[in-house]
């Protein structure tokens, strides 16, 4: 199997051969949620970071004993997989107060899923000097607890080496985003998203090697030209390419995104020449902010507009998961401001798992027609 094909076909969770191999031959696997958990610390400690996802989950019956229909289906699906044993392969799980629903998984997970090592990293809701210090202490505590619990060795040199590996991923992924800016992007949005998200679920050094190969392969291609509109995807957490596939199935070509499983996670590098923990803390605290961060709306708008312009998009689809408050408020604000700048926006409410497909198709189709009629 070539590098491209291997990344495109990477299975989820325990079917993932890299996770299996790591567990059998290397060591511990640590799950985490959210873009504010520094993966470098986990990897530098000799453990495999695995960004928790719930691809393929189509029921929440176990999770709904503890959660409620007013909770977003993203944490409900993750909890469902936790309760049904799909995450038994995790040796540890680091949660974060990313949103008010994700954070509440901690207590339920600790009581009913019983992953042996559970950690919480907390991030202030504003970007300030005091907030930075708080966050830095939080990740320092996380690092120490990880070392203590697993008797792991983690030196500054280990961190420095890991930073280089992760920055290399960021550079390669940026190249992939760049390739998609062309008139005839050499890869569909669906496949690009698969390549990008594979980074979350395999050792990063191996990922870099495969992604390099995949990029070489892609750059030889002629490119896609039979699309109706160039589209950007934004909004709530989305780790499943099937939504992008749905958009592309209607003739849109997804050329960029502002997702926390996409550009928002990968676009800022860690400074390599300074104190490694400080550098990691600064990068994660200051990276392109999620709407959970207050007083950052202007930066999010600017970031979204910049991405849209660079990728020459014809329209933006902001998908928001029902009961997601952060994107629930951000999406109409962004829609209003971006429309005023001449960028068509579709705000689409959906569940985390792909359901209600007929309605979604109709809305996407109507949006593409609107773009074509401009």
């Amino acid at each position: 199997m070539g590098a491209l094909e291997e990344l495109l076909k990477l299975p989820a969770r325990l079917d993932n051969p890299y996770v299996k191999e790591w567990r059998e031959n290397v060591g511990y696997v640590i799950g985490y949620v959210c873009t504010y958990v520094p993966e470098e610390i986990i990897f530098a400690a000799g453990m495999l970071p695995y960004r928790v996802e719930a691809r393929g989950c189509n029921t929440t019956e176990l999770a709904d004993v503890y959660f409620h229909r007013f909770n977003c289906t993203y944490p409900r699906c993750i909890l469902q997989l936790g309760l049904s044993g799909d995450y038994d392969f995790l040796d540890g799980f680091c949660l974060l107060n990313g949103c008010e629903q994700i954070r509440r998984m901690y207590e339920i997970w600790s009581k009913y899923v019983k992953t042996k090592f559970l950690a919480m990293v907390t991030v202030p809701h504003t970007i300030t000097e005091e907030g930075y210090k708080w966050y830095r202490d939080e990740i320092l505590n996380f690092k120490e607890s990880l070392k203590g619990y697993f008797a792991a060795k983690l030196t500054d040199d280990d961190l420095r080496k890991t930073i280089k590996v992760y920055n290399e991923s960021r550079r390669l992924i940026a190249r992939l985003y760049d390739l998609r800016k062309s008139e005839k992007p050499p890869i569909s949005g669906t496949d690009a998203f698969k390549l990008i998200t594979a980074a979350f679920w395999m050792p990063r050094d191996k990922y870099n090697h495969l992604l390099k190969g995949a990029l070489d392969e892609i750059s030889q291609r002629e490119g896609v030209s039979n699309y109706r509109a160039r589209v950007m995807i934004g909004g709530s957490a989305c780790d499943d390419p099937s939504f992008i596939e749905l958009v592309e199935g209607r003739g849109g070509l997804v050329v960029t995104d502002s997702l926390c499983f996409g550009s928002r996670h990968f676009f800022n590098s860690v400074k390599e020449e300074s104190d490694p923990l400080e550098a990691i803390a600064k990068r994660y605290y200051h990276h392109n902010p999620c709407p959970r961060m207050l007083k950052e709306y202007g930066n999010r708008l600017q970031f979204t507009e910049k991405l849209a312009k660079e990728a020459k998009v014809d329209g933006i689809i902001i998908q928001r998961i029902s009961f997601c408050d952060n994107h629930g408020v951000d999406s109409p604000m962004l829609a209003k401001d971006l429309e005023a700048k001449g960028i068509p926006v579709l705000v689409l409410e959906k569940e985390y798992m792909l359901s209600d497909i007929g309605r979604l198709k109709t809305r996407i189709e109507a949006f593409l027609e609107r773009i074509e009629e401009r």
Partner: protein, 464 residues
């Protein structure tokens, strides 16, 4: 409500308060029916009250006219009138309007000679008083594409701001913490009305490190407020307001203790109003209101009087989330129909160690206020791990001798819905009492109409 006049909402309330005082002045008027119905009462009203009278929930009038409720109803009306007069005076003086988030008090803003208006209060009072509550504000913001599952306590005011019927903010004050709907709507208001958003952080833990962090951010907040108000925080002025705030807090904590009495001496419909006045702590109106509630309950304890009908067995209910504001009469109905009293909830419960603010120095006052906010109902339960909420209510159920726990969860409060089962399990295991879980919206009656709430209660109490 017509669009465009920034004092319209508060002046409508003022008329309602004057009307309430007028009607309460008729000592023999103890229900509308007794006087020949709504039309007959309307006839005795001066012209300027009639339009307002038609807006008011009829059963609310009946509730406040009941002898057991009159004294506090009058205190509520007097205090709210005085607060509205204060607001109008400060608007005349063109003082800076500071909208603030509810789990905090007003002392610092008052000492800086600003006009504090609680964002969440505006919809709440309207919801409590009027047939259509604050639906106009809610509908207005939702018409802009904002989802219905956001909190009505911010939706209503956001809509009112768009309608132009409340004063525009010069600044917004907000705890930055784990309540996403409120965080986001304050940012919306800041962007939409070009008013700076000043935040202080409620970090995730409930420990010394977190408290020190909070104090630091409160100090930064003060520095920013000083710039906006153009005033420096004067120790003596702050002390004056803190003392007034302490008076209200002292009564509030004493009332909590009185509610441990059997039978509970404090009517259930006071709980939403208690929350409203706790938002005004620092203002003399809050102190007057809580004094009246305390004296009312104290007198009842001394005389051995009950708030439930003679012969009914008291069912003591702790409310693990909280009340709704859209039907105060519903809580009166619980007492009258089922003998169900309302002990405590997550929007009223100040832990006893909240204490009073030490007025020795500027530093002790700032720390004391920050500590009170750290302990504030909802802040305390929501900012951190579920254990705090769960353990608080296990303790409340024991100390207040609760017979059951009511979890009437607010749709918007997602983090509550993610712990409701843990809470009901803990109460069952550790206190041995049942829980009723049901859905409601804090201000919007259209979500769970009162008739449906009553059906839910009838079934539960029949089982109990």
């Amino acid at each position: 409500m017509k669009e465009g006049k920034e004092r319209e909402l508060l002046n409508t309330w003022k008329t309602t308060m004057d009307l309430a005082k007028f009607v309460l002045g008729y000592e023999d008027l103890t229900s509308l029916d007794q006087w020949g119905g709504r039309e007959a009462v309307r006839e005795i009203l001066p012209d300027e009250f009639r339009e307002n009278f038609d807006m008011i929930q009829p059963d609310l009038m009946d509730t406040i006219l009941q002898p057991k409720n009159r004294r506090v109803a009058l205190a509520y009306s007097d205090s709210l009138s005085e607060y509205i007069e204060f607001v109008n005076r400060k608007l005349d003086e063109r003082k800076k309007v500071a909208y603030y988030y509810f789990p905090m008090s007003t002392e610092i803003m008052l000492a800086l000679d600003m006009l504090p208006i609680c964002y969440e209060l505006l919809g709440g009072i309207s919801a409590a008083q009027y047939i259509h509550g604050c639906e106009d504000g809610i509908d207005r913001i939702q018409s802009e594409g904002y989802p219905d599952h956001l909190c009505a306590s911010q939706k209503a005011t956001s809509g009112y701001l768009l309608m132009g019927i409340v004063p525009k903010p010069d600044v917004l004050l907000k705890q930055a913490w784990g309540c996403d709907p409120s965080n986001r709507m304050y940012e919306w208001a800041s962007v939409t009305f070009d008013a700076p958003l000043i935040t202080f952080e409620m970090p995730y833990y409930y420990n010394e490190r977190a408290f020190r962090f909070l104090v630091g951010t409160v100090k930064r907040m003060i520095e920013q407020l000083e710039k906006i108000s153009g005033n420096s925080l004067d120790e003596e002025k702050l002390r004056e307001w803190v003392k007034i705030g302490n008076q209200a807090t002292e009564y509030l904590l004493k009332i909590q203790e009185l509610r441990k009495e059997v039978p509970c001496p404090d009517p259930a419909w006071h709980r939403p109003i208690d929350t409203a006045y706790s938002l005004l702590i620092g203002r003399p109106e809050a102190a007057s209101y809580f004094k009246a509630v305390y004296e009312d309950a104290k007198k009842r304890v001394e005389k051995g009087e009950s708030i439930i009908p003679e012969g009914k067995k008291e069912i003591r209910c702790a409310w693990g989330w909280a009340w709704n504001a859209y039907s105060l009469p519903f809580f009166n109905w619980l007492e009258e129909e089922h003998g169900a009293t309302y002990l405590e909830c997550s929007l009223t419960y100040f832990p006893p160690f909240t204490g009073l603010v030490d007025t020795t120095s500027l530093d002790t006052m700032i720390e004391g206020l920050a500590w009170r906010w750290f302990c504030w109902p909802m802040n305390r339960q929501s900012m951190s791990f579920s254990d705090i909420w769960v353990n608080d209510f296990v303790r409340i159920c024991k100390e207040f001798k609760a017979d059951c726990l009511m979890l009437g969860g607010h749709m918007a409060c997602k983090h509550f819905w993610a712990l409701n089962k843990l809470l009901s399990d803990a109460v069952k295991e550790e206190v041995g009492i049942p829980t009723l879980r049901f859905e409601q919206d804090i201000y919007d009656r259209r979500f769970t109409p009162v008739s449906e709430l009553k059906r839910i209660m009838n079934t539960f109490f029949a089982m109990l």
